[in-house]
Symmetry: C2
């Protein structure tokens, strides 16, 4: 195998050639045959379809050339095998290992990382079963009735999006068919004390379990909200509040050192916050909410997607194709944003998770060697579920002056059994009919002599479709986007696994909290905002 080399996108010959390839008209391209030919399996029954993307064979050939020249699959294997891919921080990137082994054994200092992840998964799974079974109880001896996860960023958005996505899912647990969480489940993220105040409203301190999640054990917002939780528990008559708190953290964090907590579950430095949903960060709360089996199903779906993403042929690799087309839209067509539009209310916060995943990973201006790049990197990501968005920002998507590529997600069945025929069709049929209509309206548009009623069309979209949103398909969906973002970062030759851009704010916040120092602008804003010290 050729030696792996890292080079900037503008040094890739296929990319240079791609800039010269004629850009086809989407309306002319899209036809029924193309629709059937543009399907790529993602895993767990999900399929990625790119028929409504403005890429024809000459373009696809150059995109495949980029994948080959940039050695994307070899670099993905390098990640799986424990290469130091987070170069700046000198770390391996091993979130794939949370859901199954695809690479070499990785055992720094003689300890198998895979075994460590499996051990933790077993521990928080057993813990969840013991809580459900009543052998682990609140400090006063009562069974827990509610859980509250305290975390921010990657310790919040992914786990919360996944939790919400399974609210309507029917599953079996302890011999019973169920729908909805086993325990009332809430989340606190913001340092704004109003967040905790609302989240805790109506809960009973005597039967509430907290999950405090911080890899470093030093996250300002999370420690502050933990203190609020401890006060709330104490105020509710819980004598040993930490006995109603479990922590998810790294073994080396300050939080890991306390024996006061009810229990502790561990991750390590090889799992970035925004990639941590399939680790103990997402697993603890999901296992408590829906049982460990549901979480295992999610992991299996993610693992299948990871495996399918190893195919070197883009036409067979959904994450790779999605990544390449995104780069075409960003760096050739010059489009600054992508909208994620799930036609599934269950995915209401999935776009917010993807917003972090993508924008924090690839919103970079330097390559992996720390040198500025001369091309655009990650786009803006935003979105809301359809059909809601149709009654909101779709006006601009259809008739605005900027073209915004779209990523639709839809399922042939809904989660609940609450459907109803009304006015000739069911709710689910109306939902998928609307999605069908939108894809075609965006792609083909409609000529009208009245310019106000004219639809220019040519607005590209992809469609991820599946039978139903289940833990497995949700896991595949999650992994698809993680792998897409990874491939794009490799194409752009940037480090998708650090986040130096969040540091300056932290430093300046400390300065403000220390009195503002001598900086008159900082002091001026602090005065305006009534920062009291």
């Amino acid at each position: 195998m050729a030696r792996i080399e890292y080079r900037n996108l503008d040094r890739v010959e296929s990319f240079t050639r791609l800039l010269e390839v004629e850009r086809p008209n989407l309306s002319a391209l899209l036809c029924a045959d193309r629709l059937a030919e543009s399907e790529i399996p993602i895993g767990a029954g999900l399929v990625y379809n790119y028929a409504a993307k403005p890429v024809d064979q000459p373009i696809l050939a150059q995109l495949q050339g980029i994948a080959d020249e940039q050695q994307l699959i070899a670099k993905y294997r390098e990640i799986l095998d424990g290469g130091i891919m987070n170069a700046g921080e000198g770390r391996m990137v091993l979130h794939h290992l949370c859901r199954g082994k695809l690479g070499a054994d990785v055992a720094p200092e003689g300890r198998s990382v895979r075994e460590f992840y499996e051990e933790q998964r077993g521990r928080f799974g057993d813990f969840a079963r013991a809580v459900h079974g009543g052998s682990i109880t609140a400090a006063g001896g009562s069974a827990f009735t509610s859980i509250v996860q305290i975390g921010i960023g990657g310790s919040d958005l992914g786990p919360r999006a996944l939790f919400l996505a399974l609210l309507g899912h029917e599953y079996e647990y302890a011999g019973k068919r169920r729908r909805g969480p086993l325990l009332e489940t809430r989340f606190i993220s913001n340092v704004d004390p109003d967040d905790a105040a609302i989240a805790l409203r109506g809960l009973d301190p005597q039967t509430t379990l907290f999950i405090v999640v911080s890899k470093s054990g030093t996250t300002q917002e999370t420690l502050t909200n933990e203190a609020l939780a401890i006060r709330w528990l104490s105020g509710g008559g819980v004598a040993s509040p930490k006995k109603q708190i479990v922590v998810v953290t790294s073994e080396t964090s300050p939080m890991a050192r306390s024996a006061d907590y009810l229990d502790s579950f561990f991750i390590d430095d090889f799992i970035g916050g925004r990639y941590s949903s399939t680790s103990a960060v997402g697993g603890t709360v999901l296992s408590l909410a829906y049982g460990p089996e549901v979480f295992e199903e999610l992991l299996a779906g993610a693992h299948e997607a990871d495996r399918l993403a190893l195919d070197p042929v883009a036409a067979n690799n959904a994450a790779l194709m999605d990544a390449l087309i995104g780069v075409y839209e960003r760096n050739v067509l010059g489009l600054p944003a992508t909208a994620v539009l799930p036609y599934s209310q269950a995915l209401i916060r999935f776009p917010a998770h993807l917003q972090q995943l993508d924008m924090e990973s690839n919103g970079k201006q330097v390559n992996r060697d720390g040198e500025p790049v001369a091309y655009d990197t990650g786009p803006i990501i935003f979105g809301e579920p359809g059909t809601n968005g149709q009654h909101s920002f779709y006006q601009l998507l259809h008739q605005g002056t900027s073209v915004i590529p779209l990523q639709f997600i839809g399922f042939r069945q809904n989660q609940s059994d609450a459907d109803l025929d009304f006015d000739g069709s069911s709710s689910q049929t109306k939902l998928t009919a609307n999605l069908t209509a939108q894809i075609v309206a965006f792609a083909l548009g409609k000529r009208d002599d009245n310019a106000n009623k004219n639809f220019p069309g040519g607005r590209p979209s992809s469609l991820i479709h599946g039978d139903r949103l289940t833990p497995a398909s949700l896991g595949a969906l999650l992994a698809h986007y993680e792998n897409k973002v990874m491939f794009q970062g490799l194409i752009w030759n940037i480090n998708s696994f650090d986040q130096e851009g969040v540091q300056l704010g932290k430093v300046l916040t400390k300065k403000v909290l220390a009195g503002g120092g001598s900086d008159p602008v900082l002091a001026g804003y602090a005065r305006l905002l009534g920062v009291t010290l």
Copy 2:
């Protein structure tokens, strides 16, 4: 007064001159004196500060010139006086009148619109008091304990955002200090049946009141969800389900004709969906949730902002200045998006409301006469509350390759009394210290020889600040953005009050539901998505 003329932005002389004005460096501009000089009252104690926007006196002079040449205040007065500003649909635009009179008497066909709005406000206010007092009950005679609003788009996003924004607000009602809604309050919007299934979980059909909101009375999603609600009520033993439904609709809609409903509250064609939060659309649910006085306070704040927006001098008119600077960023600097970043968890869904308000109003490609415009119009709007966003997409905002203007919102006090000192400062202090730090970090950046740790700065932001998020300041905030969007639409010479871009999707959806017709692409996607007819 000069006759009002409508012209495209590229025919405005001040705009042509503005394109030639030197573009200042934000880092060089921002200083403590500028901070103090850049304050403009919005109303209800809120202040708009544009110190960290890259606009100096030469630019501001041309922006004022645009305001004058485009006769923005005269056109705003024309709206207030009942001019036909929604030209395509031949309608007046009278949402300002929901919160107070600032223009001429408007009485088409002899009926005062102001009196009509006031009458409806009195009616839904009395209704809410009767529900709270127990004189209006559920069909079985029990007091109502919960309300569910069914609506989509403007009948959902604004009312929902305002409801969530007041969850922590302390208020007096019926002689008692309270915090939190008087009735359990939920919302259903999506035609996906999973939305209703989750929203109704745990509610008692015997004591649940529905508010069904559709101006036209024909909104597919809303009628479908109403049918689901009726089935749910029937299934729960309610013999006359419509006696637990009130409707908010126009007097001419099919829904208005049914005498079966418990009650009906009316709006008219002069209030667009996305501008309807201060009409019966927002007022009914907010009066039921928090009492009519809270809603009146919100209206008073909005009215004050409307009044202050009449000032012809941009330096004294926050909505006007905000609009002008936005046009500078969009049409001179060429920036495609704006992020809305409230440092207040209560405003969690306010960006989603603004996304509709702005993108549906100004995502247009034709001017008010239906002719294509040759310049960019409305930007992409997205956002999440801080500090959450800091741990998510801020990486791209700080170090991405695209500059995205920011609109920060912050309050000196939080809503709840649940604050706590921890590690030397309270949660609220940490929140505002973070906001302070971010503004300065974005504007000034920080040189570092390590390019990966370099912050280019020059990322513009505005700050809306106030003492506390109350109904009045929330109303002012809402009106500020409505008026900003209105001014921008007038600057671009587009119709901000229609939404022709949503029509094609509706037409094609009907076609799909009718069997797909002969269009093979439509039929192909319908098959892929399992649209069953």
